[in-house]
Symmetry: C2
Subunit: 330 residues, 2 copies
C-alpha cells in the first residue's frame, strides 16, 4: 500500500500538504492541490485511518471496555450499543479487562491513543476516576457507578428499587425465610441490591440471612450449597443475578427440592436465558436496550455540544415467571 510520504514525493509537495488536501483543513495552492489529487488517483492511494486520525482528532470509534464474557448481561448489552453506534456512524471496538485494573488501564490507554471518540466502561475500579478526569475524550460508566462527586456520566438501572421489588415479591408469595445471595460488595450494583433486600426485611420484620456470592454460574453453584447448609429453613432466594438464580435452581433440582413449591427463586437482569431456561426464571428486568443506546448517545451528544456528563438511573420492573408463585395462583 502506498504511503502518504510516497504520494507527497510523487506530487513534489510535503506530506503535510497531502494531508491538508485529504482532510480539507487549510487552503492549499490550487496547482499543488491538482498535483496531489492526480497522484492520489493514479496510485489508488487510500488515506491511512491512523494518519487521518492524527490530523482530524477523530476516529469515529467508540471503545467499550467490559469485565469478561462470564455474565450474559455484559454480552447482551453489546448488541444495543453496537446497533446504536452503527446508526450514528460510529464503530464499536470491544476489549476485556478481567476486572484487572492493570488491564483496564492498558485498554483505556490504547483507546485514548488511537483517538477514540469516546469510551463506555463497565468497571468497579474506583482508582480509574483519576485517569478518566485527565483525559479529553468522553467516558461513560455503565451498569455500575463510582463513588464520587465529580461529573462522570453514569448509566445505571435502579438496583436498589429492583432488590426491594424482588424481596417484596417473595414476601407476597408467602416466603418467611428469605436468603439473599449477595453480589461482590466492591460493586455498587451489589451494594444497592443488598440494601434493598435489607430494607424490605426490616420493614417486614424478617431476619436478614445472607450468603456471599459472585455474578457467575460457578460461584452460584458453590454459594447455593453453602446456603442450604447454613439456612436449612430457607423458602425463598433473592439471587445476585439470573445466572446465579439458574445455578441455584440446578443445585436444588439435584437435591430433589421442588422449585417453586418448596423454595422460590428470583434473579436480576432478565438476560435472554432467564426466559429460555426450564423452569423460566422470575426476575427483575434491567432496560438493557435503553441503557445501551443512552450510553452511545451520551458520547455523541458530548461530541456535538461538548456538554458535561450527567447520570441516568433507569427504572426496573418485576417479571414473574415459573420460579415463584402467588398463593392465589394455586
Amino acid at each position: 500500500m502506498i504511503s502518504i510520504r510516497e504520494v507527497a514525493k510523487l506530487a513534489g509537495v510535503s506530506p503535510s500538504t497531502v494531508s491538508r488536501v485529504i482532510n480539507n483543513t487549510a487552503n492549499v495552492d490550487e496547482e499543488k492541490k491538482k498535483r496531489v489529487l492526480k497522484v492520489i488517483e493514479e496510485t489508488d492511494f487510500k488515506p491511512n485511518q491512523v494518519a487521518r486520525s492524527l490530523f482530524k482528532k477523530s476516529s469515529s470509534i467508540i471503545g467499550l471496555i467490559l469485565p469478561n464474557t462470564n455474565n450474559p448481561f455484559f454480552t447482551e448489552i453489546i448488541k444495543y450499543i453496537e446497533d446504536e453506534a452503527y446508526k450514528q456512524n460510529y464503530k464499536i471496538l470491544i476489549s476485556y479487562s478481567d476486572n484487572n485494573p492493570k488491564k483496564e488501564k492498558e485498554n483505556l490507554d490504547m483507546l485514548i491513543s488511537m483517538n477514540a471518540d469516546g469510551i463506555i466502561l463497565l468497571t468497579s475500579n474506583e482508582n480509574i476516576k483519576n485517569e478518566i478526569k485527565n483525559i479529553s475524550i468522553p467516558v461513560v460508566i455503565i451498569d455500575r457507578s463510582l463513588n464520587d462527586d465529580n461529573d462522570l456520566t453514569q448509566i445505571v438501572c435502579d438496583h436498589y428499587k429492583g432488590a426491594k421489588l424482588a424481596t417484596k415479591h417473595l414476601v407476597e408469595c408467602g416466603c418467611k425465610n428469605i436468603v439473599n445471595m449477595k453480589g461482590p460488595m466492591e460493586f455498587s450494583s451489589a451494594r444497592l441490591r443488598y440494601k434493598g433486600y435489607v430494607d424490605i426485611c426490616q420493614e417486614m420484620n424478617l431476619d436478614i440471612k445472607t450468603i456471599d456470592c459472585d455474578y457467575d454460574y460457578e460461584s452460584g453453584i458453590k454459594s447455593t450449597k453453602e446456603l442450604l447448609e447454613k439456612y436449612p429453613e430457607v423458602d425463598g432466594i433473592v439471587a445476585s443475578n439470573d445466572i446465579v438464580a439458574i445455578a441455584a435452581y440446578k443445585v436444588l433440582d439435584n437435591k430433589g427440592i421442588d422449585v417453586p413449591e418448596e423454595i422460590m427463586i428470583i434473579g436480576f437482569d432478565n438476560i435472554s436465558f432467564a426466559s429460555v431456561f426450564t423452569p423460566e426464571i422470575t426476575t427483575i428486568e434491567q432496560p438493557m436496550e435503553k441503557m445501551g443506546r443512552k450510553a452511545v448517545n451520551s458520547i455523541v451528544d458530548f461530541k456535538k455540544n461538548n456538554s458535561t456528563g450527567e447520570s441516568h438511573i433507569f427504572d426496573v420492573k418485576l417479571i414473574q415467571r415459573q420460579t415463584t408463585f402467588l398463593k392465589e395462583d394455586i
Copy 2:
C-alpha cells in the same frame, strides 16, 4: 495532553527527531537527544500509540471480527482468544459484522488502517478472499472455511465427522425417523454437518428428512414447529447447534412431548449452557479452547517466521447427556 509537535517545539527540534528518539530508529545527535528527553520528562509526555504505530508498523493489536452476539459459541471462544493474546503480549479488539459484507469490510479496513498485527475473522463471505489476499497482515479464518485454493489460514473443527457422530448416536439410541435441522447452507459448517447427516442416513438406509434453520434461538423455535407439522413421525432431531437444540426442547416441552422418551435431541458445539440447561443437552463438542489459542498463535508465528498460512481441522467428540439415551441405559 501534550503532542509530539509541542515536544519538538519546546526542544527546538523537528517532530521526526522526537519520534526517532522515542522509537530509537536512527541516530540522533546526542545533544538534541538530551534536549528531547528533558522535555519529555518535564512535560510527562506519553508517546501517542497512533503516532508510534505509524513508525513501528506494529500496534500489538489483534482484531477479532465476529458475526454477532446471538450464538454463545461466538462469545465463548472470545475468552480463549483473549487469554492467549494477553499471554503473548497482544491486545484483542473485537468488532461485529452482523454477517453484513459491507460492515465486515469496514471493520477489516479499520483494523488494517490502525496497523493491527493480525485479524481473526469468523465469516462466510466468499468475496472477502480478494480483500484478504491484498493485505499484508496475517488473517486467520475461524470456525468456517472459505472455498478456495489459496493459502488462507483456516481453523475449524471437523463438522462432517461431528454430524456423523451425532446421527450415528441417534441411530444407536433406536431412532428410526431422524430429522436434521439444517444450518444456513451458505456456511461451510452447515454444509459439512448436513453432508455428515446424509451419509449416515444412506449408510443406515434411513430416509433423509430436513428442515431449514439458522443458528439462533428464534429460528430454532420456528423451525421446530414446522418440523412437527411436516414430520409427525419424528423420533430423533439432529439440531443445527446447541441453541437450536434448546429451542427444540422448549417447543416439545410446551406441547407435552417427552424428551428423550418420545423424541431425542442432539446439539452441536458444547456451549456452556448445554450442560447448564435442564435437561442437559447431548451434543458434539468443538474444542473451543484449542481453536481459540491456535488462532492467536498462528498470527504470532506469522509475525515471527513470516510463514505462510496453513489450515487446521480440530477433532470433535460426542458428549452424551439427558436428551438422548441408549436402550441399555433403561
